[in-house]
């Protein structure tokens, strides 16, 4: 998910010429509002703000949608008044204003015509009217706000820019609220269930008096995620550097082939890599359980509490090897970027003083790209921690310990198991299955991945600053 360098957003200076013109200050606002010409835009601003407020409330409270009825009618009238007034004074029709007014009128009619619940027309389910009116109300209100600002301060360039802000900001705010709700839920519920106890105990299953007793625990899931990330990074670093070096230093038909294949590894669905893991592990199933290859791929066989041999479905090593197929393209992309950013004079200087290609790579190019490699590895580790679809078929609940050849598990699997895997099934059989730790696992997973992405951002920014000095040499 984080293959792209989203740190670019946090990147350094983005030089842009400042726009000349009057900035909007409180004094200006007051003066404008006081002028008789524009007084009629004051109510439209108020109505737009009210529309945004009603829309926001009705998004969560179905009942509040009726508030839009009165508001839309009043708004249509107010906009019509303002447009009419402007027409009278300037002799020209305000076309944008006309569109906004019509939009409000349509909205008012929609509010009046819609029943509260819509059904029929082969639609599955009953749709509440607010599902239709709320988006319209929000968009119309934002447009009204834009238009009012434009008319209030229309003659300054920065006000022109400001007037677009509500329209552009609306989808962003809606999305941020969605993220806030989602992550807020994870944080609140997850923090509630967080305890030292659950962190230091593995998930376990015992048979007591004929019934099963399950204990929630995340210790092995947490350690498993960490081990998986470490192994994946260790496996992917060399091939990733190889890909990047070849792509930058030896362009040509082979480089294009390598480039295409790394792109495709990112492009295919992750579960396809998961299938490949299953295939590889399955191929090892014909071997004796104690043969080294079988142990590496399937994991060491373990004996469960009832004395039965449990066949492992995949070891941490095997899982990491296949996760690295996903991580190599990420690390390679960052390394490539780092190699391409090596200043020309440094490259040429290295050749000029007679350094061999190998020396140049070892002492100049790769050290220069090191921060990029680290960034890529951190993001790749975050990706490894979150790519459940790859280990899904092989993972278990981690009852048998954590080690390179143990059966694989991870925090993401813990999360999956509470919702779809073993736990709902256990519960359906009448046993008490612990599922209350789902959000705790989600929170831990979030903390790990966010820590890594923030770390990547930090590394990148810090090194960008360090090298800026040498960049100014030329």
């Amino acid at each position: 998910m984080s293959a792209v360098d989203h740190e670019a957003l946090a990147g350094s200076s983005n030089v842009r010429p400042s726009v000349p013109g009057q900035t909007v200050t409180l004094g200006l606002v007051a003066r404008r509002l006081a002028s008789t010409d524009r007084r009629l835009y004051l109510p439209t601003v108020a109505i737009a703000l009210a529309g945004l407020a009603v829309g926001s409330v009705a998004a969560f409270e179905n009942g509040a949608w009726t508030g839009g009825r009165l508001l839309a009618t009043v708004a249509a009238l107010a906009v019509a008044l303002a447009v009419g007034d402007a027409r009278r004074r300037t002799g020209r029709l305000d076309r944008t204003g006309g569109i906004v007014g019509v939009a409000w009128a349509v909205l008012a009619l929609t509010h009046l015509a819609l029943p509260e619940y819509l059904f029929g027309w082969q639609v599955n389910g009953v749709i509440h009217a607010s599902a239709i009116t709320v988006p319209l109300l929000l968009v119309t209100s934002a447009a009204t706000l834009s238009w009012s600002i434009r008319r209030l301060f229309g003659d300054t360039p920065s006000a022109g820019d400001l007037s677009v802000y509500p329209l552009v900001a609306l989808p962003v705010v809606v999305a941020l609220v969605a993220y806030g709700l989602l992550l807020g839920r994870v944080v609140v519920e997850g923090a509630g269930g967080l305890s030292l106890d659950i962190l230091l105990r593995p998930w376990s299953q015992e048979q007591v008096d004929g019934t099963f007793v399950y204990q929630a625990g995340l210790q092995n899931h947490l350690l498993g995620s960490l081990l998986l990330m470490a192994l994946t990074c260790a496996i992917s670093i060399l091939p990733a550097i190889g890909v990047a070096v070849f792509m930058t230093e030896y362009p040509g038909i082979i480089a294009r082939l390598i480039g295409f294949c790394t792109t495709m590894l990112r492009a295919i669905s992750v579960f396809i890599i998961g299938i490949a893991l299953v295939g590889a592990v399955g191929a090892a199933s014909g071997l004796a359980p104690d043969s080294p290859i079988s142990q590496l791929l399937r994991g060491a066989f373990v004996v469960d509490e009832s004395g039965t041999m449990q066949a492992a479905k995949g070891s941490y090593l095997a899982a990491a090897a296949f996760l690295s197929l996903l991580v190599i393209p990420i690390v390679a992309k960052f390394t490539e970027e780092g190699l391409r950013s090596v200043p020309r004079d440094m490259r040429e200087g290295s050749v000029a003083i007679g350094a061999s290609t190998a020396y140049g790579l070892r002492r100049i190019l790769l050290p220069w790209a090191a921060p990029s490699i680290v960034t890529g590895l951190l993001l790749g580790a975050a990706e490894a921690a979150g790519s459940l679809a790859i280990i899904l078929f092989a993972a278990g609940n981690g009852e048998y310990g954590v080690g390179p050849t143990s059966p694989v598990t991870g925090l993401d699997y813990a999360l999956f198991a509470t919702r779809y895997g073993s736990q709902p099934f256990i519960a359906s059989m009448g046993y008490r299955a612990p599922t209350d730790y789902a959000y705790t696992a989600a929170l831990l997973l979030l903390v790990i991945t966010l820590g890594l992405t923030v770390g990547a951002m930090f590394v990148r920014r810090r090194f960008a600053r360090r090298y800026r000095g040498s960049l100014t040499l030329d």
Binding site: N124, V168, L170, V173, V245, I254, R419, G421
Partner: protein
């Protein structure tokens, strides 16, 4: 038009060549799996009982269906067997009749005991006594030969591997004479599967030969310069860089090899059907296995997700690059980096919050009366539609419970949109930042406002980048398994009606493929080792996804390069 075709052709050279090589390799190496001939023919008055497969890998939550097959020399009227299983690992949930016994009666336990009681007792003791089937008098007889007598359904309790065995069995022929039975005596007996594929040495030889030929071609054609061959850095990075190539080729070959049997059973026509039944059987494909609904679901989900995500991403990129000093701009810069790290499974699980806040109250009004407590989702009962509106539970297939949540294609698409927004935004933002500052400055110098500059200079310049971002996001939406599985469902059973009904549950190829293959667990006796299982269908859906991904990569690459070429420099 011709130029566009040429651009696509230029982009498609490598993919086509690679896929051809992988497919040829795959087909050359494809093992032919057949049921082996019986080791020894049945003697007179002999029947063989097979339980397939005997050693199974358990996935909690996925029921296992075992088929008990009888192979007899004489027509048969009744088959019973004692089945031993580990009661701590699996639990019997049912017995069904095989096709051959469709007109018969299932049996479990003591004579006169109800089926349920027999099953309950079996779950206490771990011995399913006298499980079987018999033909009712006057219903005719089972012809001699190999027939599926009955099926047993087990629900796994814990993950792991277990063996299920037949201990003793009785087969009566049409005249109610007992046939001597072989098979169960030795305990568990897995179905005999013979791989008549090439052996390991041949595989190694073919792969080795292909590699040598490719290497020779590469060196002789000058793709790999001869003078560089002995250079350390060149050779090292070449060998390391070819690892992803090899992995990709191997994956393509794996998919092709395993998907080919699907062309035979259930056949291309069945794959193109518009029905899919989630019935799963180890014995073979049962029900419909059409992939069209899932393909449509894939399109539906990704189109909705991109339509939702693209405006938001562009707005975010505009704010981050043009209004960086505002409150939103300052918030967005660190936030996007953080959001991009959120794993899909978190969206899938925490997506419940949208169900309770939006999807249920806004789109599920009538549930109040049937299966939902309105108070639970914060709506007063009197706000629900009147009771006389004729709705039933089945009016709302999209509300079927998965993990306790009502779900729909729409919910899945919304969550996928949230997943791809932090992924697309930085790409679009980058594309906007890479617009030469001269263009931007010229626009400002001519008196254009910032917004005008965004619309007329930045976005047109950034169009190739936006195309790339959209194609990558589409690939992500195509490939996501977990969000779709949890928010929509594992399978798409039929096309929605009308086609754009987003309140139905139409899952995607990725989720369906993962589901079909998820039942496959590594190890002996995995479902995919049985001829005619539905596994090839899972591989086929993966192959469809792979081809779709290649097409998107190629087409978007061509579009991007064309847009770049057209752009004023």
């Amino acid at each position: 038009m011709r130029r566009a075709v040429a651009a696509i052709r230029r982009q498609a050279v490598w993919p086509a060549a690679l896929v051809a090589v992988a497919a040829l390799l795959g087909m050359a190496l494809a093992p032919v799996t057949t049921l082996a001939a019986d080791p020894s023919p049945l003697a007179e008055n002999e029947a063989e009982l097979l339980l397939e497969p005997a050693i199974i890998d358990l996935v909690p939550g996925t029921p296992v269906t075992l088929t008990v097959t009888v192979d007899s020399v004489a027509p048969v009227s009744s088959v019973t067997a004692d089945v031993l299983f580990d009661k701590d690992k699996v639990r019997v949930t049912g017995i069904g009749l095989g096709e051959a016994f469709a007109a018969g009666m299932p049996l479990v336990g003591q004579a006169g005991q109800a089926l349920d009681a027999g099953i309950a007792e079996a779950n206490r003791t771990g011995n399913l006594t006298a499980a079987g089937a018999f033909l009712l008098a006057g219903m005719g007889e089972l012809p001699s030969g190999r027939n599926v007598a009955f099926t047993l359904t087990f629900d796994p309790i814990a993950a792991g591997q277990t063996s299920i065995a037949l201990s003793k069995a009785k087969v009566l022929d049409a005249t109610a004479t007992e046939l001597s039975v072989r098979g169960p005596a030795g305990g568990a007996k897995p179905v005999v599967v013979e791989e008549t594929g090439p052996d390991a040495a041949l595989v190694a030889a073919i792969v080795g030969a292909v590699i040598v030929v490719l290497a020779l071609v590469a060196v002789l054609s000058g793709a790999i310069p001869r003078r560089r061959l002995l250079e350390g850095p060149y050779l090292a990075s070449l060998l390391l860089g070819l690892l992803p190539v090899a992995a990709f080729l191997a994956i393509v070959a794996l998919l092709v090899v395993n998907a080919i049997p699907a062309l035979e059973t259930p056949g291309l026509k069945a794959l193109m059907a518009t029905k899919f039944s989630s019935a799963y059987s180890l014995a073979g494909p049962t029900g419909d296995l059409g992939l069209v609904p899932a393909a449509w679901g894939t399109i539906l989900v990704s189109v909705i997700a991109i339509c939702l995500a693209l405006p938001v991403s562009i707005a975010m990129a505009v704010i981050a690059s043009e209004f960086p000093a505002g409150p939103l701009g300052r918030l967005l810069r660190p936030l996007l980096g953080v959001l991009a790290g959120v794993p899909p499974i978190v969206y899938a699980v925490a997506g419940a919050v949208f169900v309770t806040l939006f999807v249920a109250p806004k789109f599920a009004g009538s549930l109040a009366r049937t299966s939902f407590d309105p108070a639970a989702i914060g709506v007063a009962p009197d706000q629900w539609p009147p009771v006389d509106v004729p709705f039933t539970d089945t009016s709302f297939p999209w509300l079927a419970d998965v993990g306790g949540l009502p779900n729909s294609t729409l919910l899945g698409a919304i969550l996928v949109a949230l997943l791809v927004i932090p992924f697309m935004t930085p790409l679009i933002h980058d594309a906007m930042r890479s617009v030469p500052s001269a263009a931007r400055e010229a626009s400002f110098a001519l008196g254009a406002s910032r917004w005008y500059t965004v619309r007329r200079v930045l976005l047109p310049h950034a169009l190739p980048g936006i195309v790339a971002a959209v194609s990558l996001a589409t690939l992500k939406a195509f490939g996501d398994v977990l969000i779709l599985a949890l928010a929509v469902g594992w399978t798409a059973e039929r096309l929605p009606n009308p086609l754009v009904d987003v309140f139905e549950r139409t899952s995607t190829l990725a989720a369906e493929g993962a589901n079909l293959l998820g039942n496959l667990q590594a190890g002996t006796g995995g479902a995919c080792e049985i001829k005619g299982s539905s596994c090839p269908v899972g591989y086929a859906s993966a192959l469809v996804l792979l081809v779709a991904a290649a097409v998107i990569v190629v087409v978007s690459g061509a579009a991007e390069s064309r847009l770049r070429a057209r752009r004023p420099s």
